[in-house]
Symmetry: C2
């Protein structure tokens, strides 16, 4: 074990945890800390760092904060350091313009992908594994399970990290699904897409993919992340947690945004920086934990939504996620079907259609009434992520109370302990 | 008529239109321009302004850019300048903490409202008109029609502007509904809410309401707008167009954000500035144009959404707005019910669940196929706004093609000619 320390960043932010060996990350000098939550955080070394030793160690006079004790180990073992698997699924990143119709169509041939991305394997071995060949709006929950198994196989075959090229339309949903399905990841799983097709001069596919491969190869992330352009400058990419990201614009390159949290890190001007706590890679082996039960739905509430129609909709479902207004409200006209559904064992969960902030039942009488009616409040979980998690929780248990317990419990960073109040 | 000019702002933005008399707006020196679109824009005078006369006028040597020709008239006539009606509907702005339960409950007594806001009428007459007394998640489309009629009555009774105090949960939906229902507004209709109840020290109700009353009293807006805190500083409020605004956070004071456009203006440090084009007040009389047909629905698409369930849902509806992925896509499994519904005369419209950017059918094969199947693409209209507009368009005609035409046609700024690429 490393030393237990508290580090105070120049800005005043405090981190308490145990020092672990730093990985080489883009040559940046990083102190890596394992937090009490089990997550790691990488902190760029600055001269204004304040480090406090929390427990007496063998040599308290010389707290070696920048050189962690030898033998400390959270380092992933096994796979060769440079081998990355690229799983392709279709989508714009593997599409091209059909000059007959002017529309964009998926390419179905692995060689075509390499033709678009000739520099792909420059930094190390990249093995291309075609899994699906469709636009992402065609992807269904069964595909998420297939992808999860393929990711597990890639790691079993010795990949250091896995990149998944995916259409951007439902990329966020797939990232959430893999986050719930995959356990004990020995390396990063990086989803990446393109907003413009690779045969267009303005394509973002090449730079996004090359950023994704670097992050899969060079970081010790043990999480599913989404890597896409950030902001308007060419060389900046965000590393979003797979359960906290959403496509927030239909066409911009920087359409993907983390909600209720900052991105885990960035690749900026050639340097990878992990700036927020993350789950480090495990010793593996990774495995697919659970399965998805499709008997769940997502319902967006709005004024005039007919309670009878929702009652019909949930008749043979086992669970439903509501995207309510504000802090997680629906009109009292919906209490009837909610109570009947809960009595039948249907899990009714609540999120907020604001997308930012929390669903909180304790502020208004409406929330208290919904809570009393058996609605499960999911804090700052995104509605779409809550829907994906519902299918996973339903797959894990037949028992409504156990499904509700799993829904509420943080599994892959989908619920923030406290959400950061930052501008988007 | 005033002079036709082109004004180039210091930043390079160009405005072409006709000068109209400036109103006194918070003492700021403003040049007001009527654009060719019929909208007005107020530009703060700066020494770096460049003004070009476009047509020969009676005195081309002296383009009186800052003193419009006398007799020019877009000024609203009639109501006394200082009289504002405050319509109350319930919601946090007219709620208080129930110290028995700790929850927040609406107040039902007009005197209680005045007790919270003793300074309300400081700047001029404010008449309180209770209309509803419920939290906004309880509001239904029939309430939007009632409110529209009450607004028209207020103007008929001589109000210069109307403020509507409304719960924030569905405030955006009501703002959109009033934008479509009210025609020829002779003054501003300002919706305002509070994120914290007025008996709490941190309440934003007092400052929001006082900003709303000032904007209703001092501007020549002929539109429905939403006025709420902007950003984190205390004295800054945004004036959002009623059809372009959405609650984007469940609890922040600055939860309301304009999407795909900048706010029309701000009240900042005591000054009202109208920075973007707006529709100026009409000579009136205002009237409620049309009615709402509740046989419409909003359906959020997601991977795994069962096409049969949606087919059931739309069985006895006249229209449905889809919130598709990306540029406005759903999986091809949904083409069946879409084609059948369209054949039956159901209007199927498409928006994007990204919330920003446009639904555009011409980029991908999926969009082209949906377009061929009869789906009406609604550009950058927000899904919730499109749903509200659908009810209004259904109320206006029995003919699907006419409903579709009205849905697509801009009525109250809900579709931007081109959306601005600005950070939120």
């Amino acid at each position: 074990m490393g030393r237990a320390v508290e580090i105070v960043e120049p800005g005043g932010r405090r981190w308490r945890g145990t020092l672990v060996p730093s990985h080489e990350m883009s040559g940046a000098r990083i102190v890596q800390l394992k937090l009490e939550s089990g997550y790691n955080v990488g902190l760029a070394i600055s001269p204004d760092f304040r480090v406090e030793l929390l427990l007496p160690g063998p040599d308290p006079e010389e707290p070696r904060t920048r050189e962690p004790a030898p033998g400390a180990s959270a380092t992933p073992v096994g796979p060769p350091k440079d081998s990355v698997d690229l799983l392709t699924t279709g989508g714009t990143i593997a599409s091209r313009v059909d000059y007959r119709t002017g529309g964009v169509r998926p390419v179905r041939d692995e060689r075509e992908i390499l033709a678009f991305y000739p520099d792909l394997a420059k930094g190390g071995k990249v093995r291309i594994v075609p899994v699906l060949d469709r636009l992402s709006e065609e992807i269904v929950p069964a595909d998420w399970e297939l992808l999860a198994h393929r990711v597990a196989e890639s790691f079993a075959d010795g990949a250091r990290g896995v990149v998944i090229a995916h259409g951007t339309d439902t990329l966020g949903y797939t990232a959430a699904a893999l986050s719930f399905l995959l356990a004990d990841l020995p390396g990063p799983v990086v989803l990446v897409g393109a907003q413009r097709s690779p045969d267009r001069p303005s394509s973002d596919g090449v730079s996004n993919l090359s950023a994704a491969v670097r992050i899969a190869r060079e970081t010790d992330l043990g999480e599913v992340v989404v890597v896409m352009h950030a902001g308007t400058s060419d060389g900046r990419f965000a590393i979003h947690r797979g359960t906290k990201v959403r496509k927030m614009h239909s066409s911009r390159r920087d359409a993907f945004r983390s909600r209720n949290t900052a991105p885990i890190g960035h690749l900026d001007a050639g340097e990878v920086r992990l700036e927020e706590p993350y789950r480090p890679s495990s010793k593996g082996p990774t495995h697919v934990e659970g399965r998805l039960d499709p008997r769940g739905a997502l319902v967006w509430f709005y004024p005039g939504l007919d309670p009878d129609r929702v009652a019909d909709l949930v008749r043979d479902l086992r669970g439903v996620v509501l995207a309510g207004t504000g802090l997680g409200h629906v009109s009292s006209a919906h209490l009837g079907w909610i109570r009947q559904a809960v009595a039948r064992g249907v899990v009714v969960a609540m999120t907020t259609q604001c997308l930012e902030g929390e669903a909180d039942p304790y502020v208004y009488s409406t929330g208290r009434e919904l809570l009393r009616s058996g609605v499960v409040y999911l804090g700052d979980m995104l509605p779409e992520v809550a829907y994906v998690k519902l299918l996973w929780a339903l797959g894990a248990s037949e028992e409504p109370s156990e499904v509700a317990r799993r829904l509420r419990e943080d599994r892959a960073g989908e619920v923030s302990a406290r959400h950061l109040v930052r501008e988007p």
